[in-house]
Symmetry: C2
Amino acid sequence: MKLVKYLLLVLVSIQVNSQSDAEVLEKIYKASLTYGKSYEWLDYLSNQIGSRLSGSLGAEKAVEWGKAELDSLGLDKVWLQPVMVPKWIRGAKEYAFIETKSGRTTTVNICALGGSVATPALGIKANIVEVHDFEELADLGEDNIKGKIVFYNRPMQPDIINTFEAYGGCVNQRYKGAIEASKYGAVGVIVRSMNLRLDDLPHTGSMTYENLSVSKRIPSAAISTNDAEMLSSMLALDKNIKFYFKQSCKQLADVQSYNVIGEIRGSEFPNEYIIVGGHLDSWDLGDGSHDDGAGIVQSMEVLRLMKELNINPKRSIRVVMFMNEENGLRGATKYAEVAKSKNENHVFALESDAGGFTPRGFSFECSDAVYNKVLAWKPLFEPYLIHHFVKGGSGADVGPLKSDTTVLAGLRPDTQRYFDHHHASNDTFDAINKRELELGAASMTSLIYLFDKYGTSSISNQEQIKN
Amino acid sequence: MKLVKYLLLVLVSIQVNSQSDAEVLEKIYKASLTYGKSYEWLDYLSNQIGSRLSGSLGAEKAVEWGKAELDSLGLDKVWLQPVMVPKWIRGAKEYAFIETKSGRTTTVNICALGGSVATPALGIKANIVEVHDFEELADLGEDNIKGKIVFYNRPMQPDIINTFEAYGGCVNQRYKGAIEASKYGAVGVIVRSMNLRLDDLPHTGSMTYENLSVSKRIPSAAISTNDAEMLSSMLALDKNIKFYFKQSCKQLADVQSYNVIGEIRGSEFPNEYIIVGGHLDSWDLGDGSHDDGAGIVQSMEVLRLMKELNINPKRSIRVVMFMNEENGLRGATKYAEVAKSKNENHVFALESDAGGFTPRGFSFECSDAVYNKVLAWKPLFEPYLIHHFVKGGSGADVGPLKSDTTVLAGLRPDTQRYFDHHHASNDTFDAINKRELELGAASMTSLIYLFDKYGTSSISNQEQIKN
């Protein structure tokens, strides 16, 4: 029986190996677009489980679901990797208003930033000072800030084509705004939502107090872009308006959680690992369909498609569902620690954490030699309208694996709509387009297939490609 | 005074000409993304005017609005070009159900196809036969078709990456389904909506009876994809189920309408014309935001940005808002007729009629020599993630201008979501992303700028580009 099984395996391998890479990619895209599972999986994750902030019941359910789904794929190994994660809870819905001199109030849409402390139970009411960066804050100094709320209102720059770059140019207001404002005696922080669109939705996201003493920690919240514009206009008319907000969020003790991992054992180089992943946790306002349910189901689909299409990899392929990307990166840190302690040779790590939109290409963190090798694969992707290969950041969760020998990569989907939904209550399943999601999964599977077949050595693979 | 004006013009021209092409493109994109007007215009066209089927009040209002907006741009000339257009009206909302042997009925979502005749006032109830193409229909023949309704159910192929190609593989069912079915004595036609997604929305679109005698014209309607799937399943269980539908649409006499045209007179070669356009008419179910409100406002934006940025074109640049693309192409035909009769030398015509999604590139109908010239411009577009230059169909409205000397081109946006909205009630303004629309307008302006600057002669412009 064993011999028969072996011969069958050899036959299947020969069959796959006798196909050109172009033929294999065609099968991968066709399978993803005609009988893919990514969309159905995401429907369940988003609509049956929903939001899954680290330490929440949703996150726990997502771990169980992820493991059960991987178990059903017939992989060689599926397991949970324990990791302690922070648990922050939002509590009651936040409430805020602007109050004019005459006592008239206008409610505005805010949400606490992840990791923020609560306001006092009755809320905070104070004057509010608009600034656009930390320099402006420092120039104002304690005289103008003490006892007031600081309002960071630097918008994302609309003329930057890649919206992630525009995000990068603003996010320090959110992440470090409280710690900077508290230096000058501010009593609270309101941050313009990281959103290129004008709408009414506040966008949450992580912030830090670093080592700030507990007594100096001031509550921080995001305000919707429409309300940021209104607040700014009202301040231009009268600097003495007051801002009130109330939030009851809380940081609890760390709790037990898990990365979920599945593996197909490599047939030739089982000790060389290729991983593909996204993060299983999400913020609590939406259902995390784009951030990063999409990356999770696309990564699962990579291994499912390989099994489905009898692609028998030479190297060991793992899907990793990282826990706690949003507010701690504990899962990614743990995964890299364990990999290091076991001396596991990770040759390639691919992340999808930029939304489930139409894939445009990939970014790579690697040597020039490897990058040139990768560029030779570009023509294989052109029929699928994947045109954009760049050197650049790959992703937060594969980041801790960075080394001279590990090639890191990130899927690069279209970014124009991403920040309309990012960390907000409209990051929901209805904003996902099935085909776009499936094209991403197929693109990722294709890249993993090529890295598995040709390895990551920097020798030119031009001739191999021609086969 | 005239001399001063002339000198000023020369100064401005020198200023623009002294900028590199890369600098000009940067200004164009920045202007479109930071103080563009396309989105605001589309908001008005979609939400204040709404649907604008040829001959409707909406179309009439759109003509007035288009002319008034162009008048406000300070162009050299704005005018209406008269054209007679067909007027088809939908009448009361359609109604349809499936009836099983036991008499149980299930309502389904249909809409009359544009150009279809009505059913008798009481509707039609008949057996229904599913086919997938005209060959299958012919094989069944009169014996199996006579007195029945024909149900065309060939879906768009999901594994075709460019969804317009998948559309092209299906649309003959809609356009010629009635004429084919009537050959075998069918009493009506139901066509699966041209939609890659499974949902409840019927998608309309044009159909033809050609020269079929009036008595043989049978009513045709589209059914939603979900209902097409259900109907097919029910037919698999019982071929004797009945289908009922009722529609009261009507073709009226042709009415007067207009193409709306605006022009900036060329400074060096005023008798060489470059045009950019889309179609002002739309189907009646949604508000036509993607098809083709987007193309209209992007085309308007091209001329507005040129004025705004003091780009003083050498050639005459026209925006053309074509009337009646959807069900007659009368506006495009008229425009080309007039251009020919006046011996106007059209050197380049660019159309945007593939939705307001993220632009990916352009298609060109031209000689290889000109195409190679265009390819040399590609690096200028890469910072804006415009990667996809192809030879291929440009668009229906610029089509009649086709000649050996006129270069035709079409904007190629991302196509994945387009047919979710195409000709359906959800082709509405909320499905438009402001940035995606603006990126398209900037890409079009950039291409027009380059064609104006370098002309369409086939001489290599590599050296020009380097300036």
